[in-house]
Amino acid sequence: MATVTLNQAQKTYPNGFKAIHGIDLKIEHGEFTVLVGPSGCGKSTLLRMIAGLEGISDGEIIIDDKVVNTVAPADRDIAMVFQNYALYPHMNNYGNMAYGLKNRGYSKAEIDAKVREAARILQLEDHLERKPRQLSGGQRQRVAMGRAIVRQPKVFLFDEPLSNLDAKLRVDMRLEIKNLQQRLGITSVYVTHDQVEAMTLADRLIVMNGGVAEQIGTPIDIYEKPASQFVAGFIGSPAMNFLKGKVSDDKKHVTVGDGVMLDLDHDVEAGRDVTVGIRPEHLELLKDGEGRINAGVRMVESLGAETLAYLDFGANADNVTLRLQGTHTFEKGEKLSLSVPASKIHLFDIESGQRI
C-alpha cells in the first residue's frame, strides 16, 4: 500500500519536445487510477516516468513520502505489466515469476512459496513448467501479472495490458484485473486508450491530451461534467455531438443548426457564440410535433439492444447521432421530433473549448 504523488512532473526530450507539461496528482492508498487519452498524449510516458524507465525533467515524483526522481526502477518497489507481456521467452513461467525475487536475494523456499501463491491466485498452477510461447495470450498476460504480484510491490503499473487480446478475452481480463486489484488492495496506475476500460476500471480517471491532464475525477464526474470539449468528445461512445450555437437574448435558449431552439439552464451572457454538446443518449424521441427539434434521418445502424440514427440538423451542421434503446425502424429522410432536457446540454467556449 502506498501513495503516489506527482508535483509538477515534466518531461522534455533532448530534442526539445515537451511530452509532459507539468502534472499534479495524488494517488491514494489502494486507489485504481486510469490514465486515458489518444495516442501521443503522453500517458505512457507519464507511467514510465513513475516506473523510472524515463527520467523526469522537472518536478517531483513521490512514492510514499519519498522522492524517487533518481531512484532506479528496481528500487522503487513497483511492478509493471507491459502491453506485449515482455516475458522472458527462454524461461518457463515459474522462472519468469521467480526472476525478480531471485535478483532480490530471496531464499529458494521463499521464492517457491510466493510463486506458488501467485500462481494459485491467477490459476496458473498447471502451467508453471511451460514456456510462455506455449500459452495463450490471456495466460501470458496472467503470467505477466504473476510476475508483478509475487513481489508484493507498493504500486502496480499497467501499460495497456489488454490491447493485444481479442475483444471477449479483454472483457474477461478486465474484470479479473479489477477483481485482483480490489482483493490485493494495491495502488495501481493503468494506461489505456480504450475508454470502456477506463470507465469500468477506474476509481479515478485522468484524461490526458497533449501532455496535459485535461481532467481528473471519478468516471461518472467526467462523463457528466466534462471539463472541456476534448474530454467530452473522448469519453462516451458514440461520441458527444457538437454543434455551433448562439445564446438567445433572454439567455433561456440556444440556437443550433438551422434555427433549432434548445432550452438552456446555464449562466451565460446573451448573444455569445458557443459550442453545444449533446450526448447521443440524451436526445429524447417524442411523438410528432411535440419536440423542439425536427430532424431528418440520414442513416440508421441497428445493434439489437440499441439503435443509432444519424440525423440531419441542417446544412451547416455535422451528422448528429441519436442513441435509442431497443430496435427502431426509421425510413431514410423520415422526420423525427426530439428534445433534450436543459440539464443535459453542455456548453463549451468556442476558442478555448473549456466548459461554460
Binding site: 528496481a74 507491459f82 506485449n84 515482455a86 522472458y88 527462454h90 524461461m91 526472476y99
Partner: protein
Amino acid sequence: MYQSKWRIFTNHTILVLGSLFMILPVWIAFASSTHTREYIFQNGLQFLPGGEFFTNYGAILFDAEATKGRVTALEMLFNSMVLGLGFAIGKVIISMMAAYAIVYFRFKLAVPLFWIIFSTLLLPLEVRIVPSYEVVANLGLLNTYTGLILPLIASATGTFFFRQFYRSVPDELLEAARLDGAGPIRFFIDILVPLSVTMIAAIFIIMFVVGWNQYLWPLLMTTDDQLYTIVIGIKQVYNSLYEGGQIPQFPKAFALTIMASVPPVLVVVIFQRMFVKGLVETEK
C-alpha cells in the same frame, strides 16, 4: 504449390548433378587414399576404395615420418582444433560483448565506432597481415597459441550479426529485467545470452570453419613444426611428394586431406540444426 512432373525431374537432375560435382573429387581423394602408393602410381586415381585404409591412416596419424615433418597428423589436428576453437569461441565472446556495448549503452561515438568496426569487414586479413605479424613478433608471441589466436579474435562480422540480433530484441524485455532488479551484467548473462543461443551456434560454426582453414596466418606465425596446423601440413606433404626419388606418397597425402576436412564437417553436421535455425529465425 503445384509442380509438374517434368519440372520436378529437371530440378532434381540439376541438384543431383550439382551434388555429384561437389562430392566426386572428395570421394576420389578418399578412394585413392586407401590404396598403396605403388598402385596409385601405376593406375592413377581410383573410384573404388582399396584395402590400405588402416595402414595409411594409421601411418599418417601416428607416424611423423609419413607427414614429412617432425609432427604427426594427430598433433596437427590438435593444433588446428586449438586454433579453430580458440578463434571461434574468442570471436563469439568478443563480438557479443562489443555488440552489447554498442546496442545497449549510450556513449559518445558509439555510432561512428560501430561503422569503423563495420568497415573493417571490407578488409581481408591479408591486408593487415604484415603489421599484425610485427605486433605479434614484438610481443614475443611467435610460435605460441596465444600469438596464433589473439590477433584474430576481433570480429566485425560477428559484432555486426550480434548487433542486428540485439536490436531485434524488444526493449520491454530490458525494461522488465530492470524492474526485476537485473543490472547490466545480469541482464546480459540471464537474458541476452540464452536468447542468443542459436545465433551463437551459427557464428561459432562459421568462425570455427574459417579458423580451421586459416593458412597464411599460421604459416607466418609458426616456424616451429610443433605448432603446425593440419592445413599447413597438407601443403608440406604435397610439396615434398616428389622428393628423394621415391614413389610419391599420394595415398597418404590424400588421407591427410580427408582427415583435415573431417572435423569441420562434423561440427557443421552436429550444429546444423541450430545453425539453420539461427540464420533463419530467432526465437523471441
